[in-house]
């Protein structure tokens, strides 16, 4: 996947960190100190559709271009910049009865983005 930088408008992963202290949640969430949520943004031209992380081989690009040309006029604009790899977020927190809970919430952190 590609991380967003500069003025590129192609599909990329934008880092976004939620600091629990900043939002006043540090009193009930013991660990970690924040949540690296991240999100996907950017454009997905049709010739990169179906290429997770964009950086696919030359052959995949050619195949996708052929696919686009064949399907032109029927499926225009249906490709989205979406998460392709995610990982869980481990949380250690107090619940409402002051029990301490540890859990892994699946699919919370966006690791990489690509065109659907």
């Amino acid at each position: 996947g590609i991380d967003c930088q500069g003025r590129s408008r192609m599909c990329c992963r934008q880092e976004f960190f939620v600091d629990f202290r900043e939002i006043g949640w540090h009193d009930w969430i013991i660990q970690p100190e924040g949540y690296a949520m991240n999100f996907c943004t950017g454009q997905c031209p049709l010739h990169v559709a179906g290429m997770p992380g964009i950086a696919a081989s030359f052959y995949t690009s050619v195949l996708n271009l052929l696919k686009v040309n064949t399907a032109a006029g029927t499926t225009r604009g249906s490709s989205c910049c979406v998460p392709t790899i995610r990982r869980p977020l481990s949380l250690l927190y107090y619940d409402r009865d002051s029990n301490i809970v540890k859990t892994d919430i699946p699919d919370m952190v966006v690791e990489a983005c690509g065109c659907s």
Binding site: V18, S78, R96, P106
Partner: protein, 218 residues
């Protein structure tokens, strides 16, 4: 999801200014965490645990192996630490009360393993058979009766662990567990079960939400 005009929302230029965009993302993050933890709002802490107790409890526990991801086809797993509230406490017995969360006692919760951790102080070079009774409310009155009991051989001063059996599942379903620790037989001295901040007894449980339901359906 593509919009009606076939434009993917993630592909276009942000329609909001930077501050509103950030506010939106923060709210999304908060909502997402609360939803995944099955909470309608952030908990407000009624009975905060001291940092010393928390540190002691965490040091006693072994975390899951690093790099192991939760199983994709099961329910979400939780590890829960519940600190005891000591009730009746004298040289011959100590009673411990545990209150589990109301959301833990909701249906579909499967206790995979639960154990009691407690700190015993013994005179040097002594051993002590210790009886741990699991008490439950009898159906007709409010008296506590002994449901099951475990016998432990305590050889040393320090932290001790007792694996709880099926009674842990019952306790989590009912939201309450009462244990009684007492030395077995006639002993010239009595062990002291310490319950101060750094030695506060606790129950640790590994539970799964939704696992049973999925298994039944399959």
């Amino acid at each position: 999801t593509p919009r009606a005009d076939r434009q993917c929302p993630a592909c276009g230029e942000p329609a909001l200014d930077v501050e509103s965009h950030r506010e939106l993302l923060l709210n999304l993050a908060k909502r997402s965490i609360l939803d995944k933890l099955h909470l309608s709002q952030r908990p407000t802490l009624g009975r905060p645990v001291s940092r010393v107790a928390l540190r002691a409890a965490l040091q006693r526990l072994h975390g899951p192996p690093q790099g192991v991801l939760p199983e994709a086809d099961g329910g979400q797993e939780y590890e829960i630490i519940t600190f005891a509230e000591t009730g009746l406490c004298n040289t011959t017995q100590t009673r411990l009360d545990f209150h589990f969360s109301s959301d833990s006692s909701a249906g579909g919760l499967e206790v995979q393993q639960a154990s009691l951790m407690f700190f015993v102080q013994l005179p040097p070079n002594t051993t002590c058979p210790l009886k741990v009774r699991v008490l439950e409310l009898s159906p007709r009155d409010t008296n506590l009766t002994s449901a099951t009991q475990h016998l432990l051989e305590v050889n040393d001063s320090g932290w001790h662990q007792l694996l709880l059996g099926p009674e842990a599942q019952t306790a989590y379903s009912q939201g309450h567990l009462t244990l009684e620790l007492a030395p077995e037989g006639q002993v010239a001295w009595s062990p002291v079960i310490l319950a101060g901040a750094a030695h506060r007894p606790f129950v640790t449980a590994r539970v799964r939400v939704g696992g049973k339901h999925r298994l039944r359906r399959r």
